[in-house]
């Protein structure tokens, strides 16, 4: 096989993420640019442009799939691990607000009934967002149940 084909894949994780997201944007024929930012805990690629619905997919399924592949690929040959976040047209921010709303409703219901309340299945990064958001309240606890991709958070009132 042509050795050039493998040399197109950068070795540095943030550059691998950039190359991969750019490839997807190109294949989907989108007019968009990709900005990549790396901090201590995370590599974040943000796609800006018009008509990014195809990249996001229904309920974010396409952008979540891309984020999953990018995070597997970024550290495929290194022991290092960071969260990889792919965002487009403000999707992650809107999603976070929606997740917090669902979390608040589940917490209210759990406290009112005194019983555990299950949230909808979510990806692992989204479960982490909700878990951390609810952990700050102190009056309820969360844990995960079930198998991927149906794994979900359960909200329980704190004993006592």
């Amino acid at each position: 096989m042509d050795p050039d084909l493998t040399s197109e894949i950068p070795t540095q994780p943030a550059e691998r993420v950039r190359a991969l997201v750019e490839r997807v944007v190109e294949t989907l024929d989108l007019e968009a640019s990709v900005a990549v930012e790396e901090v201590e805990t995370e590599i974040r690629a943000t796609v800006e442009g018009d008509e990014l619905d195809l990249l996001i997919g229904s309920d974010g399924e396409t952008i979540d799939a891309l984020q999953y592949i990018a995070s597997r690929a970024a550290f495929a040959d290194s022991a290092e691990r960071k969260a990889v976040v792919i965002d487009a047209a403000g999707y992650r921010g809107r999603r976070e607000v929606a997740l917090q709303g669902a979390a608040d409703r589940a917490a209210t219901e759990a406290l009112a009934s005194g019983r555990p309340v299950e949230l909808e299945p979510m990806s692992s990064p989204e479960r982490k967002i909700v878990h951390q958001y609810l952990a700050a309240r102190g009056d309820i606890e969360t844990h995960s149940e079930g198998q991927e991709p149906r794994r979900r958070l359960v909200v329980t009132p704190t004993a006592g």
Partner: protein, 77 residues
Amino acid sequence: MEDLLEYLARSLVDDPGAVFVESFEEDDGSIALELHVGEGDVGKVIGRNGRTVNALRTLMRACAVDEGQRVLVDVVD
């Protein structure tokens, strides 16, 4: 579409040189993509509980939407 699948797979495996994709058109007009990877790399592209290959399928479906086609992805070693 094949090129993207090949690129994504090459970025996931230990032996990128062994990766290639064959594409077939089925009788019903859907596209079947056969992803070939090196012997030791099948697990890398399938992933735990098939999560990686399912994510690849989701991305390929998004690409096929444009062309109005159904797309199937299978892994072959």
